[in-house]
C-alpha cells in the first residue's frame, strides 16, 4: 500500500549554529535601529513668486520677524554641559542672546515674543509672517521662533532666501 502523505521527518542536521547567527543578526539590527528617534517637522514656505512673473501683487502686509545676535554665547558640546572641543557640532549655552524684532518692537526674551505673536494673531489671524535672519543666526534660533509663530496660530510663514555667495563677494 502506498501512503499518500509522507510522515513528517525530523529536521536533519544541527540547527544550532544557524539559530545562533540569526539571533546575532537580530540583536544587531535591533540595537542599530534604536538610535533613530522620531522626528518632527515644521512647515513653512518660500516666496512663491521669485523668478516667476506673477500678475498678482502681494496685497497683504506681512508681519516681519527679524532675528539678530546680540551675544554669541559660549559653545558647549552638543549633548553635555562641557566646553566645546573645537571640532564638529556644538550647542550654545544659556548665555546666548538673540534679539527678536516684530515690526517696530524688539525683545530679547523668547517668551515675550511668544506673547506678542499671540496678541498679534488674535488681532489679525490672516496676516502672513516672514522670518528674516541676520548673519550669525543658527538653525536652532530660527526653529524656536518658527515654533512660537506656529504656536500662536500662524500657518502662512515665509522665509526669504539670500544668495549668500554674492553678498560675500560684494561685501
Amino acid at each position: 500500500m502506498r501512503r499518500r502523505r509522507q510522515p513528517e521527518e525530523p529536521i536533519k542536521g544541527d540547527m544550532t549554529p544557524m539559530i545562533d547567527v540569526t539571533f546575532q543578526l537580530l540583536i544587531f539590527f535591533m540595537l542599530t535601529i534604536k538610535f533613530k528617534t522620531l522626528e518632527g517637522k515644521l512647515s513653512a514656505y518660500l516666496p512663491k513668486d521669485v523668478g516667476v512673473n506673477t500678475t498678482q501683487a502681494e496685497p497683504k502686509e506681512k508681519l516681519e520677524i527679524k532675528l539678530k545676535v546680540i551675544a554669541e554665547g559660549t559653545k558647549l558640546m552638543p549633548r553635555h554641559n562641557q566646553a566645546w572641543t573645537g571640532e564638529g557640532a556644538f550647542r550654545y549655552g544659556p548665555d546666548r542672546v538673540v534679539q527678536y524684532s516684530v515690526g517696530p518692537r524688539t525683545t530679547r526674551d523668547i517668551k515675550e515674543l511668544a506673547k506678542r505673536l499671540h496678541e498679534l494673531f488674535q488681532a489679525n489671524p490672516e496676516q502672513p509672517v516672514t522670518l528674516d535672519a541676520l548673519p550669525g543666526i543658527v538653525y536652532d534660533d530660527v526653529v524656536q521662533v518658527l515654533d512660537q509663530a506656529i504656536n500662536a496660530g500662524y500657518r502662512d510663514i515665509t522665509f526669504i532666501g539670500y544668495d549668500v555667495t554674492k553678498e560675500n563677494k560684494a561685501g
Binding site: G51, N81, R91, V142, L146, G161
Partner: protein, 170 residues
C-alpha cells in the same frame, strides 16, 4: 505495520520551524527599516520644537531631504552635494534640486488656478542646531531659481523630550 514518527536520536523535542520563521521575518523587517532611514538621514542634533508635526515619510511622494551639517556641508543620501571647503558655486546642488523639482507634481502658482506651474511638494531641510542659518538661506535662494521653484519647505526638529536635553547650568 509500525511506523516510527520520530527518531529519538535526532529529535529536538520542540519544533523550531515557526520560531526560525518569525526570527527571519524580524531580521528582514529590521534590515529594511535601517536601510531606509540611514540612507537619507544623517546623524544630527536637531533643535527641539513643541509644535513639530510627527514626520511620517511616504516613499511614494517625492520629497528630497537635505542634511546640512554644522560646518555647512550638504548631504543627500550620504552623498556630499556641497562642501564649503571645496566650493563649487552650488552647481551640484542646483542640478540636484532641478532634477527633483522635475519629478514633483505641478500646480499653478496662484490659488485661483492661474499662472505658471510650480512644484507642489515640499523639501525637507534637516540641519544641525548649530548650523549657521546663512547656509539654509542659500538653499532657500536656490529653491527660488528658475527651473527649480520649490516653494514648500519643512524644517526638521526633534519633538521635545525633557529627559534627553541636558539641563542648562546657571
Amino acid at each position: 505495520m509500525k511506523l516510527s514518527r520520530t527518531d529519538p536520536k535526532t529529535d529536538v523535542g520542540i519544533d523550531m520551524t515557526p520560531m526560525i520563521d518569525v526570527v527571519f521575518q524580524l531580521i528582514i523587517f529590521f534590515m529594511l527599516i535601517t536601510d531606509m532611514t540611514q540612507k537619507e538621514l544623517e546623524e544630527l542634533v536637531l533643535p527641539d520644537a513643541q509644535n513639530a508635526d510627527p514626520d511620517k515619510p511616504d516613499p511614494t511622494v517625492v520629497r528630497p531631504i537635505l542634511n546640512i551639517l554644522a560646518d555647512g556641508k550638504i548631504l543627500v543620501k550620504r552623498r556630499v552635494l556641497y562642501d564649503p571647503q571645496h566650493d563649487d558655486g552650488y552647481t551640484e546642488l542646483k542640478s540636484f534640486l532641478a532634477q527633483q523639482a522635475l519629478r514633483m507634481p505641478k500646480k499653478p502658482v496662484n490659488d485661483d488656478g492661474t499662472g505658471p506651474l510650480v512644484p507642489d511638494n515640499p523639501l525637507l531641510i534637516r540641519a544641525d542646531q548649530s548650523t549657521p542659518f546663512k547656509y539654509i538661506q542659500q538653499v532657500m535662494y536656490l529653491c527660488g531659481l528658475t527651473g527649480i521653484q520649490i516653494w514648500k519647505i519643512q524644517l526638521a526638529a526633534a519633538e521635545q523630550n525633557p529627559d534627553q536635553k541636558p539641563k542648562p547650568q546657571e
